[in-house]
């Protein structure tokens, strides 16, 4: 009774995993399977209420968009002299968050780090959903969305927007593949565990999605090969995605954009905000689905350290940018610095510097704040600050006058804010739906490669009353 789906005695030549199969206590394993598959098994009224609320906000966002389709972009706050605003800033922000999965699933996998295996699935959720939501924004921002097909018919290689479209499409496809591959053994587990009491469509879904996985060596080899290729390919694709996103700014001649540092700067900022997004989602799902045994202080701390490291990298980039331009003070630079540091954007700018770059490093350095709550707080700061930073790049960058005219001010209108709220609602909605369809922890990987978290205690099972049982079996 100690075989688990996905684990079979392996031949020596089986590819991929170096360590021999772990001996895990069956109790722990069973608890993990139960906890991880519980959302797939049944749904409570709270979930439906949550989805309903999200749909309401999303509906309001769609209504705002219909207003924009009807009257044109005049309903936004953008005008000729600041012709990009909240939409493009949010586009860059969401694409940035999507680098969460790249870092955790790919980079850390390549380096054989094991601590992140319990959160790698959530990271991939974020990646795919953030890409889907982020990719909507350029279309929302278009003045003539009815001419979308012109991009296919008349597209030019030489345009940074075309690079964006190609890179994001490639990355979305790759991330979807990379989300799906480790899901196959978990789908097989769900197919087997959620037996006859599950509705037929669910059974059919899991059976189809598991593509007949039974843990045989040949199948394992195929899966390991596919995952190795994906984890190596997805890293340069992800780097290129945010680099070309930065190039829609850096390929122009504006004072604030005309710098070669943008590619690296944006990629670092993307990974930074991605880590914060994982931390936030981790904290939320951990509480909701009672996963404290598998997502422990270790995961939070390590991600917190990585956040601190990236905050230092971002500080370095910012110092480079402002020191190099500030020393020379070319035309336009004094205006830009003034508007950022003491002018209309001062509050946002200094919150970004101290709250977004300083606070996370300090939180991780000070022992008192180096807790799960502290790391989550730092993540919230980072997410707010990185959205603000994208906003500053777009709006403050465009506000620098090109000719002798008075600079214009930009304020987002209700339509833009509603659509942004709708986008966040869509993000949460898709994550919620994913959490219902796919196990939020990569069960087989945690069982095979990680085992029980050192120092984690089994949480009290607590009352199972009111919670739909799994396969109708009585609570333990």
């Amino acid at each position: 009774m100690d075989t688990v789906i996905g684990v079979r005695p392996r031949e020596a030549e089986s590819a991929g995993v170096e360590s021999p199969p772990l001996a895990v206590p069956p109790e722990w394993r069973a608890r993990l399977e139960r906890r991880a598959l519980a959302p797939l098994a049944g749904t409570g009224w709270r979930y439906y209420a949550w989805i309903g609320a999200l749909l309401a906000v999303l509906g309001w966002g769609i209504f705002a968009y219909t207003r924009q389709l009807d009257e044109g972009l005049i309903v936004t706050g953008m005008r000729d002299r600041i012709s990009w605003g909240l939409y493009i800033a949010s586009f860059v922000f969401f694409i940035g968050i999507s680098h969460a999965g790249t870092l955790l699933s790919a980079i850390l996998r390549v380096t054989r780090a094991r601590w992140q295996l319990s959160v790698t699935r959530m990271a991939e959720f974020i990646t795919v959903v953030a890409l889907m939501v982020g990719a909507l924004f350029p279309f929302i921002d278009m003045g003539r969305p009815d001419r979308i097909l012109n991009i296919l018919e008349y597209g030019r290689w030489q345009s940074p927007l075309m690079w964006d479209i190609l890179a994001i499409t490639t990355y979305l496809t790759g991330s979807t593949l990379y989300l799906y591959l480790p899901l196959v053994p978990d789908f097989a587990l769900a197919r087997d565990r959620l037996g006859p009491t599950a509705p037929r469509w669910k059974r059919a879904f899991f059976r189809a999605a598991a593509v007949g996985w039974n843990g045989s060596p040949a199948q394992r080899r195929a899966l390991e090969r596919a995952m190795t290729v994906m984890m190596l390919v997805i890293i340069p694709v992800a780097v290129s995605v945010h680099t070309v996103v930065s190039w829609i700014f850096a390929m122009t001649l504006r004072v604030a954009f005309n710098t070669s540092i943008f590619g690296a700067f944006f990629v670092a900022g993307a990974i930074y905000s991605g880590i914060a997004a994982i931390v936030l989602l981790m904290a939320v799902l951990r509480k909701l689905l009672r996963l404290e045994e598998y997502i422990t202080r270790t995961q939070f701390l390590y991600l917190g350290y990585m956040m601190a490291a990236f905050s230092l990298i971002m500080t370095y980039f910012n110092v480079s940018e402002y020191a190099v331009h500030g020393y020379k003070m070319e035309a336009g630079v004094p205006f830009h610095f003034e508007q950022l540091m003491v002018g209309p954007f001062a509050a946002l700018f200094w919150f970004y510097i101290f709250g977004g770059l300083g606070a996370p490093a300090i939180i991780m350095l000070v022992r008192r704040t180096r807790t799960i709550a502290g790391v989550v707080c730092a993540a919230v700061f980072v997410l707010l600050a990185m959205w603000i930073e994208r906003y500053l790049i777009v709006v403050a960058g465009l506000r620098v006058p090109l000719e002798p005219y008075a600079p214009r001010d930009y304020f987002p209108s209700w339509v833009e804010l509603s659509i942004l709220a709708g986008a966040f609602a869509l993000f949460a909605l898709l994550i919620s739906v994913f959490a219902k369809l796919f196990p939020v922890i990569s069960i087989w990987e945690v069982v095979e490669h990680r085992g029980p978290e050192p120092g984690a205690r089994a949480e009290n099972e607590g009352s199972r009353r009111g919670r739909p049982g799994v396969a109708g079996r009585p609570a333990r």
């Binding site: 044109g72 972009l73 003539r144 940074p160 829609i248 006058p401």
Partner: protein, 294 residues
């Protein structure tokens, strides 16, 4: 006879560089000298393509202070193209000069030879014709506005809403060289009026200027005119120390400026301010539409 003719031409040359005679006067009564005439105004002699360019003589531009009206080049362009409010396809900026004075700089689309807007457009809606004019096909433009970020001269304008249409637009078929009627959600800008040149006329702005400060010319045949005199383009800009805007950005514009502050029109550099631009045609046909601001 020869000496008398020489004296008349002498008097004309005394005004060389400053407009003196009308075209009709120059051509009438000149005797049987052959005048090299092209078969078609938009094609250079020998069937070669024109390469349109402009020279703007800032010595003559005083922001129309001397005529007491808003800048007439902008007015003529707005009336000719039905440019919606607040678009000023040729905009007269007031730049500060060292020493405390100001100068007026009429700025049309610079028709860059290394145009950043052409480089970044994802659907080639902004394109350069072989004659060097940068045009926008508003029936292809998707309204992404990356061209507006790329232009370093603030010369592109977006139709944020539906601009009211004048009655004349109902009879017009859309043409990238005339850009009327305005299409919501697309970009517009100065198009150098190549359709005017094809019928042998100067662009609206050049026609509208009361001081004849705008010269329209051809780099291929090395000529330019402001409606009164014809000059050799290269020699004209060389002897007047002409320059281009933001030369160090490498956009290679085709609009040259002769430095000045309106002194040929009697303006002192310390006399600031010009009247604000108006859009009379839009006041006529407002139809309840609220114009947006720049």
């Amino acid at each position: 006879m020869a000496k008398g003719l020489g004296r008349r031409s002498l008097l004309r040359f005394l005004g060389a560089g400053v407009a003196a005679t009308s075209a009709a006067g120059a051509l009438a009564g000149r005797g049987a000298e052959p005048v090299a005439a092209s078969t078609h105004p938009a094609v250079a002699r020998g069937g070669r393509l024109r390469r349109w360019a402009m020279v703007i003589d800032l010595r003559r531009c005083d922001g129309c202070q001397s005529v007491g009206k808003p800048p007439q080049c902008t007015r003529a362009c707005i009336e000719g193209h039905f440019a919606p409010q607040p678009m000023e396809w040729i905009e007269v900026y007031e730049g500060h000069l060292p020493g405390g004075g100001t100068q007026f700089i009429p700025t049309p689309c610079q028709q860059c030879q290394n145009a950043p807007c052409v480089n970044v457009c994802p659907v080639a809606a902004t394109f350069a014709t072989p004659e060097g004019v940068v045009l926008i096909d508003q029936q292809r433009c998707i309204g992404c506005r990356i061209c507006m970020e790329a232009c370093p001269y603030d010369r592109r304008f977006f139709n944020w809403g539906q601009a009211p249409q004048p009655p004349e637009a109902l009879f017009m078929e859309y043409d990238a060289e005339h850009q009327s009627p305005a299409i919501k959600g697309t970009v517009m800008k100065c198009d150098f009026c190549p359709d005017m040149a094809r019928s042998g006329r100067l662009p609206y702005c050049a026609q509208g200027c009361p001081n004849n400060a705008i010269y329209y010319g051809d780099l291929e045949e090395d000529l330019a005119t402001n409606g009164e005199e014809v000059v050799r383009f290269a020699r004209f800009i060389a002897t007047s120390s002409a320059y281009r805007l933001k030369e160090d950005l490498g956009t290679e514009p085709r609009v040259f400026y002769i430095p000045g502050h309106g002194e040929a029109a009697g303006r002192s550099p310390f006399k600031r301010g010009r009247l604000p631009t108006q859009w009379p045609w839009q006041k006529r046909v407002r139809q309840g539409a609220v114009p947006w601001t720049r």
